[in-house]
């Protein structure tokens, strides 16, 4: 036990850890938003609702089929991803030629529907979801106590984030994706099924959100409004980082989570607003965003 700037190390590192956890959710969600925006030219407002839906599905399959955390971590993203692909095929695909803002409005409506249904089924209060047995407990690192589950969340989201980056930037599939983002007509002329690629991209982006949701379930409770609160912060993260770069989204997400955590230690009143303040400063200094290529 020692002190840094008059703050006990336990409190400091504890908040730092919470910051990293929040940061991993910011990173996963802003990554999904960036991938979807790249292919569909739509800002997916229902991203937060789909994150909540992931946690919600995990809760439901635990209640009704007894499947625990680990199966849920795979099943819930698949279910949410499939519903996402249905949404893309039945609704979003009609909007690609319209102004961007219609996509935002439609997905905002979808978010209201998903959140409303969840409130009717769950109630507004949060429901607990227990940490899986294999990850209960924690270890003492000397300067702080590290719960195993939180360590897992950080490692898992880092893995997923860099896995996504690798697939998009370093594989053939990723090359198709990047090419289709730049010029869909030309890529189609080469015989690549771009509409299918778009559907899969949306499904994948949404599945990422659901994956984050399942991981969040044991940390926060499963509650209908867990997504809408988060998505607005994630929007600010996206404005700060810019959606041009995958790596940028990851770095910005984790970085802002940590800054938010530190603010909780040194200036708790501002912890809710610090990310928005940073957004305002970035807009003044570097309007295109930290990693943005164009407006």
């Amino acid at each position: 036990m020692f002190e840094i700037f008059g703050i006990p190390s336990n409190a400091l590192f504890g908040q730092l850890l919470i910051g990293l956890i929040n940061g991993s959710f910011y990173a996963l969600l802003s990554l999904g938003l960036a991938v979807i925006f790249g292919m569909l030219n739509i800002i997916n407002f229902s991203h937060g609702a789909q994150y909540m839906l992931g946690a919600f599905v995990a809760y439901l399959i635990l209640q009704y089929s007894g499947l625990g955390y680990w199966p849920a971590l795979i099943v819930a993203p698949i279910i949410v991803g499939i519903t996402g692909m249905i949404i893309e095929r039945t609704m979003l695909q009609w909007l690609y030629k319209l102004d961007h803002l219609y996509g935002l409005l439609l997905t905002f409506g979808l978010a209201l529907i998903i959140e409303g249904v969840a409130r009717n089924l769950l109630g507004s209060a949060g429901l607990p979801y227990t940490v899986p047995e294999s990850l209960q407990g924690g270890r003492n690192l000397g300067f702080m106590f590290l719960p195993n589950y939180r360590a897992w969340v950080i490692v898992a989201s880092l893995t997923i984030c860099f896995g996504t980056w690798f697939v998009i930037e370093r594989t053939r599939l990723g090359a198709y994706l990047r090419a289709a983002t730049e010029n869909p007509t030309l890529v189609r002329a080469f015989g690549i099924n771009v509409p299918l690629l778009i559907t899969l991209t949306y499904g994948f982006g949404v599945a990422l959100a659901a994956f984050a949701g399942v991981m969040a379930a044991p940390i926060y409770n499963v509650s209908p409004q867990m997504g809408s609160e988060l998505i607005i912060v994630v929007f600010a993260v996206v404005v700060i980082g810019g959606m041009g770069s995958i790596l940028g989204a990851i770095v910005t997400g984790f970085g802002l989570g940590v800054i938010e955590g530190l603010t909780k230690v040194f200036f708790p009143e501002a912890s809710n607003t610090v990310i928005f303040v940073i957004m305002a400063i970035v807009l003044l200094v570097r309007p295109a965003g930290l990693f943005g290529r164009r407006g």
């Binding site: 030629k97 409506g109 209201l112 009717n120 957004m279």
Partner: protein, 328 residues
């Protein structure tokens, strides 16, 4: 790309040319609206009508941005809610007369609009919407933590007071006339803006900002002025609402309120003069009628959003004008 966009009312080229028929039908609609609003309090609750007029003005202010400049502000609750707080606080704690309280609210909204607007116009399109939403959320947290807003309780039992120190606003009819005057003044002001040379430049920015820039217009300044005007009028609506309902609360500054004004405008018709008014009455009536359904109202609102975007992008007024072959 542009040819495929004609079904989109925001970039519909036929939306601009003013015709005699349009002017005539607008005059008729305006007279009908004023007449209806004068008779209505004898048939239905004045309090409901006053609330609806406040929301209608709010939606008209929002529509000024999205319909005529093509800027989607997803954070208009910021100006509505903070004007409402300031007007309520001025009337209750400082003992301002209602007109001064409302002016205090309007001034607050104008100032906040200037600050938020000058940040938001630094980015275009979809980023603009996200920035306005994020800034509004930031100010929501300020409202939640600040002492003077009363946190979760809000500012309750705001005195309506005496207009100019003379006319007693506790009388429902006096209050009604004041709200009607504010609403109509706001509406006519917006109408004047849209049909002024300034408004023509705004529409040019909506159609093609690059071209407006190449013609020598400083589009950023135009956008900022439009933003401040819109925020100010939204503030007028919020400040008046605080006096009418004698309440300012967190609901007015939170993001669902921003979503609601988008919904009202979308339902009525983006970029139509009367659309936001019709939309806000429709949505408010729906909320009253369906309030027994509790949380399902949220789902219904979501369904309306989705179906408007997919099926009726012109909104009620837009579809009506299309049926009657009136060019808006």
């Amino acid at each position: 790309m542009m040819e495929q966009r004609v079904s989109d009312p925001l970039v519909d080229p036929s939306a601009t040319p003013p015709s005699a028929l349009r002017k005539q039908s607008e005059t008729i609609a305006f007279v009908v609206m004023v007449a209806a609003l004068i008779i209505a309090p004898f048939f239905t609750y004045p309090l409901f009508l006053m609330q609806a007029m406040c929301f209608a003005l709010f939606a008209c202010a929002f529509n000024l941005l999205i319909g005529y400049v093509g800027l989607l502000s997803f954070g208009h609750a910021l100006y509505f809610g903070w004007a409402s707080y300031l007007s309520a606080y001025a009337a209750k704690t400082w003992g301002f007369t209602p007109e001064l309280a409302i002016l205090a609210g309007i001034a607050t909204a104008a100032l906040l609009g200037l600050l938020a607007g000058s940040l938001a116009i630094r980015r275009q399109g979809i980023y603009f919407a996200m920035i306005t939403l994020a800034l509004a959320q930031m100010m929501y947290f300020f409202a939640l933590q600040a002492k003077f807003t009363g946190g979760e309780d809000g500012i309750q039992a705001v005195p309506r007071g005496h207009l100019f120190g003379v006319i007693d606003l506790r009388n429902e009819m006096n209050m009604y006339v004041l709200v009607l005057v504010i609403f109509l003044a706001g509406f006519l002001f917006i109408y004047r803006i849209i049909h002024s040379p300034f408004g023509e430049v705004l529409k040019a920015i909506r159609e093609n900002e690059q071209r407006a820039i190449s013609l020598g217009y400083k589009t950023d300044r135009y956008k900022l002025v439009a933003f401040v005007l819109s925020a100010t009028l939204a503030g007028a609506a919020g400040a008046t609402k605080a006096i009418v309902l004698q309440l300012a609360s967190l609901t007015d500054v939170n993001w669902p309120m921003s979503g609601e004004v988008v919904l009202m405008t979308l339902v009525g018709g983006l970029g139509t003069i009367f659309g936001p008014i019709v939309g806000s009455f429709v949505i408010l009536v729906m909320q009253y009628k369906l309030s027994v359904l509790g949380e399902w109202v949220l789902v219904i609102q979501g369904v309306i959003f989705v179906s408007c975007v997919l099926l009726f992008r012109r909104g009620i007024i837009g579809e009506l004008a299309n049926k009657l072959r009136i060019r808006l």
